[in-house]
Amino acid sequence: MGPFVYMAEEHNPPLVQVRGLRFARGSRPIFDGVDLDIRRGQVTAIMGPSGTGKTTLLKLIGGQLRPSAGSISVDGQDVHRLGHRALYELRKRMGMLFQSGALLTDLNVYENVAFPLREHTDLPESMIRDLVLMKLEAVGLRGARRLMANELSGGMARRVALARAIALDPMMIMYDEPFTGQDPISMGVLVKLIRSLNDALGLTSIIVSHDVHETAAISDYIYLLSDGRVVAHGTPAELGRSSSDWAQQFMQGLPDGPVPFHYRAAPYADDLLAGREGRG
């Protein structure tokens, strides 16, 4: 696990604390002792190759999945010891942006953003309208409020989902692969939005991604995950100078390195010969 520095600032403890997290899907371990600190007001990135369970980590933080060992606390509350009601109260203060946007397809953009307000508040319609238009303005889609969810491009859907995620003014937002499959322009828009919303609304953001450059550009702190463990962590600058081969390979996108180009196999020559002998 490496030397882990517990930066327990007494006056400002981390918003999210993950300790000794273990989680397995069937017999396949996904996390094997992960420790993380997400500091308040910062954009923290969690990065790693595909299939390292980054999305799973967000679902664990949100309490949708239950770890086999270890603990996750959000704002001082142990997520997996909360009752149903308390967990739902906590979730009202968390926003999550799913990769697909997860907009409700039978509602239009306006109603999607209004959805959490209607579900959780008894605000009068005029106030809901003001709030929805405010949030849509923040993501630049006030003009698209009459469109149905399935008429939106992927990038627009994510922005609408972002407006919905901030509708209840949460303390934190979790982004699940926000940049995947975006054209350069909408990617640029999202990168700018995540950072500016974080700073303007005083949020805490967690980004799960494998898009190194975009993510590194806006994050304050980065954790690199591989094989169920944290292999490196630090500010983007620190990781760029990191002596870890693995971190270098990942951050620079090298095809070969500690993560080999070839999947585990018998030596190439043996394989070719075996085929020739076997079939005669």
Binding site: D106, L107, N108, E111, M148
Partner: protein, 156 residues
């Protein structure tokens, strides 16, 4: 997305149609119209033979259904069947000397009790008993009797 109001109206129409269908099934198709058990009065009649008659079989006057059979008992003293009938409150003008018969609707139809009003000025009260009864016609007995008569007349 459809207007909320349109949806509400359609659902209203649908629920109303469904309830109306249930109501029609009750009134038009089934026998709910004839008699409510709580209103009406009970009379009894004794028969030698009621084979085929059941609880809930209809009771009619001149072909009009006025009530139904509520109980069938056996009197061990007289070896007769005692049939209790619930008659609708609207039909409380049945004379005291009304006669009852167990009849069949059609050749293979169900059995029912047919009442034939007499000429008495007094009417049947709750718990009253019909004394003039005619038992069901048992087909086997009739055929047997018919064949027997034929044979008798053939001999002469």
């Amino acid at each position: 997305m459809m207007q909320v109001r349109t949806v509400e109206i359609w659902v209203g129409v649908f629920v109303a149609a469904g309830l109306a269908a249930l109501f029609m099934l009750a009134m038009q198709v089934s026998n709910l119209t004839v008699v409510g058990d709580d209103q009406g009065y009970t009379i009894k009649a004794r028969f030698e033979n009621i084979s085929g008659l059941k609880v809930r079989s209809p009771v009619t006057v001149a072909g009009v259904r006025v009530g139904r059979v509520t109980a069938i008992d056996f009197d061990p003293q007289t070896f007769q069947a005692v049939v209790s009938m619930r008659i609708g409150a609207a039909y409380n003008q049945l004379p005291l000397d009304t006669s009852a018969a167990v009849l069949t609707s059609g050749l293979v139809g169900e059995k029912y009790v047919g009442l034939e009003p007499g000429g008495d000025m007094d009417v049947l009260q709750d718990g009253g008993e019909i004394t003039l009864t005619q038992s069901t016609l048992v087909l086997e007995q009739m055929i047997g009797k018919f064949l027997f008569d034929k044979a008798e007349s053939g001999k002469e």
